[in-house]
């Protein structure tokens, strides 16, 4: 068990013939992901590393039974690509692309709400169930199967979390990067709900950062609903207000969205808070000892 992706996932890659799309498709395939199709309008009939390319997602789904999409389409056309997958009824869509305009994503989000699809990202590293399926740009080899679920707004900071718990012998059930954009498809609460229901996941790490109020809402949700141990980390204690810290969503607006406020909310909800990044693995080991026994 795991959440959302596993051995049965059949992946279609949108933007498979681009440089990035091709590179990461091969990495996912080498990791063991069942990549069944690619889509690039105008290149239908070609193939990439033996993977058939189609002109449209609808055609790819019809021909190959794809049930998940990974999106590498450049920002000006990416919202269009995500909408295409939603319209084609793809249950899980993972958008890696960074730089999609907020107005475009707001339309996608409102359309998504009326559909049965789940969107992860955009501007995210993807999702991985170690040993089974990787959809995204993560270095697969740093992961191993286990019982810790990780959800994060960051890419490399997620790898850091995985690496540190590996040092203490803890593997992962599923690791999800929900992305650094202000408007995204899947939020912390969606992931926490799924981890909470997944018997393979016995403990949870939540990695947040400045901007917005998703961490505060997640902390409140954990307090009310999650019985599994959760540790939390927030990046951006030293971030100056009003500046966009790399991620489009990582910005303190006035007095809201600060790291201090988020840490306070997590503490009040009973989470174990990691204040110093270097101690994440050690703190996870102690906090999760009973649950992982």
């Amino acid at each position: 068990m795991s959440i959302w992706v596993d051995r049965n996932t059949r992946l279609v890659v949108q933007g498979i013939t681009g440089r990035e799309g091709q590179f990461h498709t091969i990495n996912c395939k080498n990791y063991g992901t069942n990549v069944v199709a690619g889509v690039t309008p105008g290149k239908g009939g070609q193939s990439v590393e033996g993977i058939p390319v189609f002109n449209t997602v609808a055609k790819a789904v019809k021909e190959t039974g794809a049930n998940a999409a990974m999106v590498f389409v450049p920002p000006p056309f990416c919202a269009d690509a995500i909408l295409e997958s939603i319209d084609a009824g793809v249950p899980l869509i993972v958008a890696i692309t960074e730089g999609i305009p907020v107005m475009d994503m707001m339309k996608v989000k409102n359309f998504l709400a009326k559909s049965k699809s789940r969107l992860i990202g955009p501007n995210c590293p993807g999702i991985i169930t170690p040993g089974q399926c990787k959809i995204g740009i993560q270095p697969g080899h740093i992961h191993s199967p286990g019982h810790v679920g990780i959800v994060s707004r960051s890419g490399t900071l997620t790898y850091e979390a995985v690496h540190q718990i590996q040092q203490f012998g803890m593997g992962q059930s599923t690791v999800i990067g929900i992305g650094g954009d202000p408007v995204n498809g899947t939020n912390f609460i969606d992931c926490l709900t799924a981890f909470n229901a997944d018997p393979e996941t016995k403990a949870i790490i939540m990695v947040g950062e400045i901007g917005g109020s998703a961490e505060e809402e997640a902390a409140d949700f954990i307090k009310k609903n999650v019985k599994k141990p959760v540790i939390g980390f927030i990046a951006g204690l030293t971030a100056p207000p009003g500046r966009r810290m790399g991620h489009a969503g990582a910005i303190i607006s006035g007095s809201s969205g600060t790291a201090q406020g988020k840490i306070k909310a997590m503490r009040e909800a009973g989470l174990t808070v990691v204040e110093n990044l270097g101690e994440m693995g050690k703190i996870a080991k102690d906090a999760f000892a009973a649950a992982l026994k």
């Binding site: 305009p101 107005m103 994503m105 339309k107 270095p139 490399t156 950062e209």
Partner: protein, 388 residues
């Protein structure tokens, strides 16, 4: 991206949102001329910088005569304006907006922006105009009206009515206000604004609704489709090292009063690394995310920009190789170090893809680089450097 008030008002004008008569001035002579052309008094002389709180800082003056226009224009142009948003170092004023002064009956607040939590476009309006809206929200949240609009449906008449009647407007003012609100919505969507704020929006004694102030921020991700706005970028308002970094598409932010430079891949890890530096007792001098797909050239330029900052006493490089392989990073660092010459200690922590190759490149470089085994070790080593 931010623009000046006079530019925001040009955009208002394009959409038919009423503004006071006026023009930007870049010299005292120009200010005098515009004042004379307005043909009325009082005339308002407003400093144009990318920060709020200009009035309190002495950057906005009401001139009752032509002589006063000249007096205020000469005192404000060239002044270093300090407001709660500029930081203690302030901003040098190089531009003015010269406008007609209007008889104010009432000041309102109005803003429109994409709301990240709901993915709707939200209008916020209040009768408590001219005040700091954060303060109003904290103390008297009931005085703020919020109207959420689904971007797939767009703004309808009833949305505008909710705002107008919520602001207790009557008669012709309702008509003027609702027409203006619809125009603002269109502008916000057309131009990918991340914030449109009018504070105050005034009702004049002769019964008009006018945007007395104007602030517009734009979504950086959408600038590719707004070439006209890109031309309004004002490099005077940005830190020179940030301008330099933007040429290489590097996410660099200079931090005031820092002493430890740092270069990291990924925004989250970069922020966390800055936090680590502070927790170790030093102060981060910058934020620098070289990104997932950084080239050796980008690494080199990032390194050069960090080292050009005279307050930097040491540099921490923290890389978790995913897409950015450690060997590529190591080559970039070695090249940069040879070209730029490193005069301060450099601590490097690398992990992830091709880490062994990366470490070997650094070891064989003959450069004086301090390697760290993990983030805690890196933080301790850089703290020791900062203490000297």
């Amino acid at each position: 991206m931010k623009i000046h008030e006079f530019q925001a008002k040009q955009l208002f004008q394009k959409y038919g949102v009423p503004i006071p008569r006026g023009k930007a001035a870049f010299s005292v002579d120009e200010a005098k001329q515009i004042g004379a052309e307005l043909g009325v008094f009082p005339v308002v002389v407003k400093a144009q910088i990318h920060a709020g709180g200009r009035g309190k800082g002495g950057g906005v003056k009401l001139a009752k005569t032509a002589a006063e226009v000249e007096k205020y224009a000469s005192s404000i142009l060239g002044m270093t304006l300090v407001t709660h948003q500029t930081g203690p170092e302030g901003k040098l004023v190089k531009k003015l907006l010269i406008e007609e002064g209007l008889p104010i009956a009432k000041e309102l607040y109005l803003s429109v922006l994409p709301d990240r939590g709901t993915a709707k476009i939200v209008f916020m309006a209040s009768e408590a105009g001219g005040m700091d809206i954060e303060e109003v929200a904290a103390k008297t949240p009931e005085k703020i009206i919020k109207v959420y609009i689904d971007p797939l449906v767009g703004m309808k008449g009833y949305h505008a009515n909710e705002l107008a009647f919520g602001l207790n407007l009557t008669g012709d003012l309702v008509k003027q206000f609702t027409a203006m609100a619809m125009k603002l919505y269109k502008m916000c969507v057309d131009y990918d604004c991340s914030l449109v704020e009018i504070n105050p929006l005034i009702l004049t004694k002769d019964g008009r609704v006018i945007a007395l102030d104007g602030k517009i921020n734009f979504d950086d991700n959408a600038m590719y489709r707004h070439k006209d706005i890109q031309e309004w970028r004002d490099l005077d308002e940005e830190d020179p090292s940030e301008v330099e970094a933007s040429k290489y598409e590097l996410n660099y932010i200079k931090m005031p009063s820092g002493n430890i430079g740092n270069m990291v891949n990924g925004a989250g890890l970069a922020m966390a690394t800055m936090d680590l530096i502070q927790q170790a007792g030093a102060a981060p001098a910058n934020f620098l995310d070289v990104g997932g797909g950084a080239s050796a050239e980008q690494v080199e330029n990032g390194f050069r920009i960090i080292l050009a900052d005279p307050s930097v006493k040491g540099v921490l490089i923290n890389i978790f190789g995913g897409i950015l392989r450690c060997d590529r990073l190591a080559n970039g660092v070695v090249e940069a170090a040879k070209k730029v010459g490193i005069k301060v200690p450099v601590v490097i922590r690398m992990e992830g893809t091709n880490v062994e190759e990366g470490r070997s490149i650094l070891d064989k470089s003959g450069l004086n680089l301090i390697t760290a085994k993990d983030v805690s070790d890196a933080a301790q080593k850089i703290a020791a450097v900062a203490k000297g």
